[in-house]
């Protein structure tokens, strides 16, 4: 090659803030253990955890279903950091043993060489705090991001006060910031039992627990004021200010999916789970997945989801306001005021969640399907499980200003063009391509693109 196309990515640098032999994402038990083990074996290890969260994420229910039940103390960064460290004593131990620890730091992307990303010189992890995004280099990664909540789209589920088991646990034990008083718990398995025990242990009033799958209605206008459930054909009601959906959790497979690790449908382990060996090694060299991110316990999710989704009005995707009926009819979003194809969903070939998203917008909103992935998947998987809906960076929604702060190679800026930088492409195609034309496509600044 004479010299590489200057408007291409070839030869561009990606400035790194630091480099580690081993990065561990998620400072729960599994992550702390992995980071300490890495440090003990002489690796330069970084352990990151997104808690305390960018306060904007609580309202978006990312990464858990927080249901607006965390108090204002979560906005005080320093105080929250103290609480996180207090809640996870292993963090200090890890630090003493030489692990570099970064809390309040979200992993939003991972960039590795592949058939369409040949120009990436080393493996890179995208990190961000509240102010800026940056990159670090790594050789090995352990993903220990845990599990997230499964929302059940019963009427009223989007009211403030409806939480997931993970959100409830974080509010109670990690942030010490739970603002509810009287709670109802949904679920019959270990997850629900733990939530109940934790609630009672903290002196909360547990109004009731609905253990067996039953139709539910969450009551309230501005926020939760009660729960109605069906039992023996009759509706019953109880007053409460919080409903904890503790039927099931699902492995957080965002990073493994982004990296291209094999992920399989495995209802015995929470649904989509990375394919790992006994040591947690994924299909990708040097990438391990541990703890609940690698698989959770089996639960009664399907029965509960079926009950919730039976109603046409069930609001499946809260961000984009897509109901179960809209999904079945493959209806375009309301602002288009149009109908879907006559046969609805059946009009498509084998169901594909990403394709259905493109047409209905279910899962296309600010929470990126964190609250509706399982519902949409259940709706599409009547005959056989639909494939995993894709995850993309940024894995946490980052303000433009934060992402914009990522350090950039000056050569990348100098050669930035809107589209390719092929001068002849922008000149009349009914005339022969001129040899030394000026490039008039979108260009940042400066002179002609060197060809």
């Amino acid at each position: 090659m004479t010299h590489a196309d200057p408007t291409s990515i070839a030869g561009k640098r990606f400035p790194l803030r630091d480099s580690f032999t081993h990065v561990v994402i998620g400072a729960g038990e599994a992550g702390i253990a992995a980071a300490r083990a890495a440090a003990a074996s002489g690796e330069r290890a970084l352990l990151v955890d997104e808690h305390p969260l960018d306060p904007g994420l609580f309202g978006l229910d990312i990464p858990y279903l927080f249901g607006g039940r965390l108090d204002a103390s979560t906005r005080q960064a320093a105080r929250m950091e103290e609480r996180i460290v207090a809640a996870r004593p292993g963090l200090l131990q890890a630090m003493e043993e030489g692990v570099e620890v970064a809390i309040g730091t979200a992993a939003w992307g991972a960039f590795v060489k592949g058939p369409s990303s040949r120009a990436l010189p080393v493996r890179m992890l995208g990190l961000a705090d509240r102010d800026a995004a940056w990159l670090v280099g790594f050789e090995r990664m352990t993903i220990a991001t845990g599990a997230r909540d499964v929302a059940l789209p019963f009427p009223g589920w989007t009211l403030p006060g409806v939480m997931g088991a993970q959100g409830f646990d974080a509010a109670l034990r990690l942030y010490g910031a739970f603002s509810g008083r009287r709670i109802a718990i949904i679920g019959g398995g270990a997850l629900a039992q733990q939530a109940e025990a934790a609630a009672r242990g903290t002196g909360l009033d547990v109004a009731l627990r609905v253990a067996a799958p039953a139709p539910l209605r969450i009551l309230g206008r501005e926020e939760v004021t009660g729960l109605a459930w069906q039992q023996d054909g009759a509706w019953r009601e109880a007053a409460c200010d919080t409903v904890v959906l503790a039927v099931d959790t699902v492995p957080m497979v965002e990073l493994p999916d982004l990296l291209g690790c094999a992920i399989g449908w495995d209802p015995a382990h929470g649904g989509f789970a990375p394919v790992v060996d006994a040591q947690g090694r994924s299909s990708l060299d040097g990438i391990a997945v541990r703890g609940e991110a690698a698989g959770t316990a089996a639960a009664q999710r399907a029965a509960w989801l079926d009950l919730a989704l039976a109603a046409d009005e069930a609001l499946v995707c809260a961000c984009e306001e897509v109901s179960a009926a809209d999904l079945r009819a493959l209806r375009p979003p309301r602002y288009l005021a149009a109908e879907g194809p006559e046969a609805g969903l059946a009009r498509l070939g084998p169901p594909n969640q990403d394709q259905v998203k493109r047409l209905t917008r279910a899962g296309m909103g600010a929470c990126q399907g964190r609250r509706c992935r399982e519902s949409v998947h259940a709706l599409l998987s009547r005959e056989r499980p639909a494939p995993l809906a894709s995850h993309r960076a940024p894995l946490r929604p980052l303000p433009l200003s934060v992402l914009a702060a990522l350090e950039e190679d000056p050569a990348l800026r100098a050669n930035w063009t809107g589209w390719f930088g092929i001068a002849a492409q922008w000149l009349p195609h009914w005339e022969p391509a001129p040899p030394d034309a000026e490039y008039i496509g979108g260009r940042l600044s400066g002179g002609d693109v060197v060809k």
Binding site: M1, T2, P6, T7, S8, I9, A10, F14, F111, P115, S116, S117, R118, L120, G126, L135, P333, Y335, L336, A338, G349, P350, Q355, R358, A366, Q368, R392, A393, P397, L398, P399, L400, S401, L403, A404, L406, L412, R413, W416, G418, W419, F420, I422, A424, W426, L427, P428, H429, W430, E431, P432, A433, E438, I440, G441, G442, R443, L444, S445, G446
Partner: protein
């Protein structure tokens, strides 16, 4: 039977125009319709440098009705300049359209701010293009496919074409992963895979595949004219309100067999955020929710190849060289004419023939600096 290889917008639109006139068509798509570049692009419908520009502009306002499903097409574009150099280049491309009788208006800072409340003091001005527009690529791709079927055409998804069988200088059958389909004519509109499908027929179709990427933000209240871009970005505010923008360095790649490589994102996505914030300084707080990539092909001069071959004489080759979404309504109509009558009667396609690359050196990619780096 006319067999169309590739269910992107080029193939689907061709099938639509043919089926609409009552011809028997089958579109063969290895995955899902619109899954590659056609469903991943910026949705721009403004190509004044193309001989199909006038037809592009004429057809878009009718596409929702013609296809029977919404494409989210909206007219006009607003271009934002952050310095005089940007403004100067914008006027140069504007002149391509105004020379053809289309109208454009100068926007001073205040007028720009009235139309686009997100711009800041750093904007020197802009141009309102009273032509062009934008549409939703995913909805448009699917709308074409449903319209093809409504007119009696057939779409085979998850079916891969493996070869084209010829006899006596004509294509007689298309070999697919689901068996052979007899044919009277073939259109190869397989995006970056077009070259590999044409090669066994004895034709070198020079093209280089590349990966490009885009980002999208959470929705904002829609402004009246959402087709706003500049500062090295192309894109739009969607009708839902999200800002969807792309631009910046592409990556030249190689194909490995019949699959399309997974188009991942790179830290270039942060560069997109940086330029979006430069253009709209009031929007620093707006969250980026997703990014994606797509694979496009480029010919050596960056211009389409729309050509009916001489041998086999019933095969049409169509590559849009990375600028094919917006033109697709017109491209499909032109290609349908090439299939049926061997020439297009509404646009001069004489410069878009394959033969212009007759003397191209074999190592043209290297010479242009377009080689893929090793994996």
């Amino acid at each position: 039977m006319i067999v169309i290889i590739g269910g992107g917008v080029t193939g689907l639109s061709t099938a639509f125009w043919l089926a609409r006139e009552g011809h028997a068509v089958t579109v063969v798509e290895k995955g899902i319709v619109g899954w590659e570049a056609s469903g991943r692009n910026g949705g721009g419908c403004t190509h004044p440098y193309s001989p199909l520009f006038r037809e592009e502009q004429r057809l878009w306002p009718m596409m929702d009705d013609l296809l029977g499903h919404p494409t989210e097409w909206r007219p006009n574009r607003i271009k934002v300049a952050l310095d005089e150099g940007q403004l100067d280049r914008l006027w140069k491309s504007t002149r391509l359209a105004t020379d053809q009788g289309f109208a454009a208006e100068v926007l001073d800072r205040a007028a720009l701010r009235d139309l686009v409340p997100w711009v800041g003091e750093n904007a020197v001005g802009g141009i309102l293009w009273k032509y062009g527009g934008h549409a939703n690529p995913q909805r448009t791709s699917q709308a074409y496919a449903w319209a093809v079927e409504r007119h009696g055409g057939r779409i085979l998804q998850h079916t891969t074409v493996r070869g084209i069988r010829t006899r006596g200088g004509r294509a007689v059958a298309v070999e697919t992963s689901a068996g052979e389909i007899g044919c009277d004519a073939v259109v190869i509109a397989a995006g970056p895979h077009t070259a590999a499908l044409a090669q066994p027929l004895g034709h070198r179709v020079p093209m280089a595949p590349a990966r490009v990427e885009m980002i999208v933000t959470e929705p904002l209240p829609p402004i009246a004219m959402g087709g706003v871009d500049g500062n090295g970005l192309y894109g739009r505010q969607t009708l839902r309100g999200n800002l969807a923008y792309g631009g910046g360095p592409h990556e030249w790649i190689d194909l490995d067999g019949e699959a399309t490589p997974r188009p991942v994102n790179t830290p270039v996505m942060a560069g997109l955020a940086r330029r979006l914030q430069e253009m709209f300084p009031r929007l620093g707080h707006v969250r980026v929710i997703r990014s994606w990539g797509g694979i496009v092909e480029n010919t050596p001069d960056g211009r389409p190849i729309l050509d009916r071959l001489e041998d086999p004489a019933n095969v049409v080759v169509a590559s849009m060289s990375s600028v094919g979404f917006g033109l697709s309504p017109a491209t499909g109509r032109a290609l349908a004419q090439l299939v049926l009558q061997g020439r297009c009667d509404f646009a001069d396609l004489s410069q878009l023939k394959l033969s212009r690359f007759g003397n191209l050196p074999l190592d043209w990619r290297s010479r242009q600096g377009w080689d893929a780096l090793p994996v």
